[in-house]
Symmetry: C2
Subunit: 551 residues, 2 copies
């Protein structure tokens, strides 16, 4: 009876950092060897990071990745790790290009053993929806890879292959697969629920094999890979579930496809939705900061909920000592705004300074004879200039803090409160901002810590404070109504008539939809931020700016 120890390696590669990604693979294989693993499986494109987008169309990049894989095989052997089968993801040159000459590479999983690449599998189903463009960048493969190791048969497939029907995955049973190895780069979406577990379980039952689903972890631009790798046996019983939002390495002893045992301690339950969303936002920001060479962030603190929650996410991600908050009161700023901003910074001991804007604004106002909306926008832009000047002077990444609801209806000043390289709340609608704030405070209390977010920032009526006594609801419907309309229009792509059919006022629906359509040009120039839903602004939703459709 075989007894194969399979290690699932949930790693956090950086796109393009081939040498350091490979060094990390080596380190993980060495750790797995210490735990007596016979086989180590990594996620999709572990060698290059994922997604590589149009890097896949650069020949030098593909050749460098292939070379790194061959050198890794040799290095493993030279370190006496040649007997361990190592399964890694990387791009490889396709033998034939597509007709356009654009896609030249496969999205590949290779098996390294005894100093050599003993086999490769090329991803068949290329996702080309949502944030993915893999028809653009990859050539499809069509042959299952099955290999025997220590008496068991393993077959490899990649990510989208199990989300669609047909293709090599349908031959898993015919190939007498004991364990399907599924390499994934599957980004976090709160609405995905447990679809992955469901798919893996169905696959195990259908093809009568165990299945090891290995996902990446880490932030890459607007995506957050959440890990949460899973192993099920051929009877679809879950054997192991790896950590969410953290690198992890777990070993499984496999005697037969229906006899798997985990050899490490670990947790099998997923925490609640708010915990997951919060951790996705924290990891997304942390990795954007570190992978792009920043050490600190600067952001405006208005006393409102959006900046308060962004600062708290930042403090959780990179430490409060690396968060630089700037209060920029105007003549219209209330006392509570200034107090709440200071209170927020003090609760976590963030860096904090006050830069009043009244005199700076007055200079422009007088010179250009501005009034009304121009003055409102002007205040936001003067704040933007201050934040960017501090960023330039001190080397911080600037965070912008507009939530998804604001971004949807364009309730922001472009080149003003929108300045910054990264937006933690880009895909977080306003009602969820409040929910997360309450959750984060309760979580702190449950750990015996001070609530990070001032209660007043959560409870007061939201206001841009760009004119006297202004509140958001002067211009917008209540946020619960607005978010419901936006959910139908943006996330579910429903029509104006459908939405009115739910009981919303026709005029209000028209107004909201018009605001969304008219703001497209602003969204095109907006900072990236972590996708947490099935429909994030950015690559998920590609609409023309010039667009007269109403419906």
């Amino acid at each position: 009876m075989p007894n194969v120890r399979l290690a699932l390696a949930q790693t956090n590669p950086t796109v393009g950092a081939i040498a350091s990604n490979v060094a990390n693979i080596l380190a993980v294989v060495e750790e797995a060897a210490k735990r007596q693993a016979d086989l180590v499986v990594f996620g999709e494109m572990t060698v290059t990071g994922y997604p590589i987008e149009d890097l896949a169309t650069r020949e030098s990049f593909i050749l460098d990745a292939e070379l790194a894989v061959r050198e890794l095989a040799i290095e493993l052997k030279s370190r006496n790790l040649g007997e361990i089968a190592v399964v890694i993801g990387h791009p490889s040159m396709a033998s034939a290009q597509d007709q356009t000459g654009w896609a030249i590479a496969h999205n590949t999983a290779s098996v390294l053993l005894d100093g050599k690449v003993i086999g490769s599998y090329n991803k068949h189903h290329l996702p080309n929806y949502s944030v993915f463009d893999e028809y653009r960048t990859f050539v499809s493969g069509d042959k299952l890879l099955t290999f025997e190791h220590k008496g068991l048969k393993f077959s490899t497939v990649i990510c989208e292959d199990i989300w669609q029907s047909g293709g090599p995955v349908s031959h898993l049973g015919k190939a007498d697969t004991d364990v399907a190895l599924i390499l994934n780069g599957s980004p976090f979406e709160i609405d995905k629920d447990d679809t992955r577990l469901k798919l893996v379980s169905e696959l195990a039952k259908k093809h009568n094999c165990a299945a090891a689903y290995v996902n990446l972890v880490g932030g890459q631009d607007d995506l957050v890979f959440d890990g949460d790798s899973i192993v099920v046996d051929s009877k679809a019983r879950m054997v192991a579930r790896l950590k969410q939002f953290k690198t992890d390495l777990v070993c499984i002893d496999i005697a037969a496809k229906d006899d798997l045992k985990v050899s490490d301690e670990h947790h099998m339950t997923k925490p609640n939705d708010n915990w997951q969303t919060w951790n996705a936002l924290v990891l997304g920001l942390r990795d954007y900061v570190s992978k792009n060479g920043f050490k600190s962030v600067v952001l405006g603190l208005s006393g409102g909920i959006d900046s308060a929650i962004c600062a708290t996410i930042a403090a959780d991600a990179i430490g409060a000592e690396n968060v630089f908050g700037v209060s920029m009161p105007s003549n219209f700023s209330s006392d509570h705004s200034k107090d709440d901003a200071k209170d927020l910074a003090n609760r976590r001991n963030m860096n904090y300074q006050v830069q009043p804007i009244a005199n700076l604004v007055k200079g422009f106002e007088d010179q250009l004879q501005l009034e009304g909306l121009s003055v409102e926008n002007l205040q936001a832009r003067v704040r933007g200039v201050i934040l960017m000047a501090l960023s330039n002077k001190e080397g911080h990444l600037t965070l912008t803090t507009g939530n998804k609801t604001e971004l949807a209806v364009g309730y922001s000043t472009i080149y003003g409160d929108t300045v910054g390289g990264y937006n933690p709340l880009k895909d977080v609608e306003k009602t969820l901002v409040w929910e997360l704030a309450r959750w984060r405070n309760a979580y702190a209390l449950s750990k015996g810590e001070v609530e990070p977010i001032p209660q007043n920032s959560i409870e007061k009526a939201p206001s841009a404070e760009l004119r006297p006594n202004q509140v958001d609801q002067d211009s917008l419907p209540p946020y619960d109504v607005l978010d419901a309309i936006l959910d139908a229009y943006v996330n579910r792509r429903e029509s104006s008539d459908d939405i009115v059919g739910y009981g919303f006022d026709q005029e209000l629906v028209n107004k909201v939809l018009t605001l969304v359509d008219r703001s497209e040009w602003k969204r095109r120039q907006s900072a990236i931020g972590p996708k947490i839903t099935g429909m994030a602004f950015g690559r998920d939703r590609r609409l023309p700016i010039t667009n007269k459709y109403k419906g």
Copy 2:
């Protein structure tokens, strides 16, 4: 012997404006009827405009477009135009969705006759490279449509179908096609040369049929459709060539597939490259302005070549009386800068004002204790605030004027000189900026007009004038060298080694490539502008921001 009069209708639809696009189709068919046409062929997606991007994934949009087509057929009949066969492009619901549920529609060409839709063809080859994402948004069709009208056989195909091999287009001959009707949405690229004519000619010869290639005309966001529709006979002799960058309607009398005669006067030769590029830039800007409801533009005039050429493009596009130039001198601005800016505005009688920035800059400098690069960026940002304030106050579209070379290496201040909704020079490299300036002046002279661009703006050393005696070549290599390196790296996707192999200095190549990679986050937040090359920044080149690859 048949004698069919075929009208090629080169129109300029607006994306989403279904009702007005249909009204325009009706007007064009009426005009064609006056000229005794039997058949009128329009471009791809004439009913909705093109490209519709993710509008194709909205069911209400597709249903509205289909309804409009059926109503158009009825309206044509009610106007006694029912005997004219009208071939139009539009999206239609596919009977089966793709597996992801994302793409629900076909990209369709329908034939209207006698009040009905008598047949439809669904595009087979869906372009999913360069700026196109049609695998994402459309379901592929696989059946040629052939119909007889007045004794001749016509078959329809759509755009990409003739750029790739295989698919329904290969059955043109088998279907005894006399005339292939090719509906296109083919954007202008200067490097396309006459590829379209070559493809159409080859198709005619291969399948022994005449071919009518009908393209759209007009600007849509970052694309400019140039028209230039073509008719060839079955011996691949060119019979007609429609105007470039203008709507046009030309009738052809067809006795047999090798016996075609044009019944209108028209020009068969294409003007030179600079004329074409200039007209693409002018049309792109004009349509962005008009289709988005603007009447005027505002831009900073520095006295330099980029702003001079942008202002001239704008004056050609929407009239000098709708161009508002703002000179914003600082303490570092030379006298010639101010003189050249004023000279430029005067030559065309543009609106012109001076807004000095020294006092405004000083306010920030003193409050924030800035020096060095922070102060350079600050000056650009103060100018951005001024332009946006004037835009907000007076309703102008703000133009940003950074050329492709600047955009490539990030030689700009984000939220400073990059502010604006549209950038006429986004895809124009610096060396081409100068070439176009010289060409435009010579063109003016040839028409007996005043040269619009001051000679001094063309000849002086380019400078950002953000510190005393600064010139661009303090930080950058000479522009001819820089553009050559960028052409290899960006446009041709070559490696660092390849580029060094051409004889460029290794250190310089590394520096330029690093500048390009590091500026990705700025480009993501940059304004759109007209694509004129095979590799424009934006949808043509999709690279990660977080990207450590050097090679």
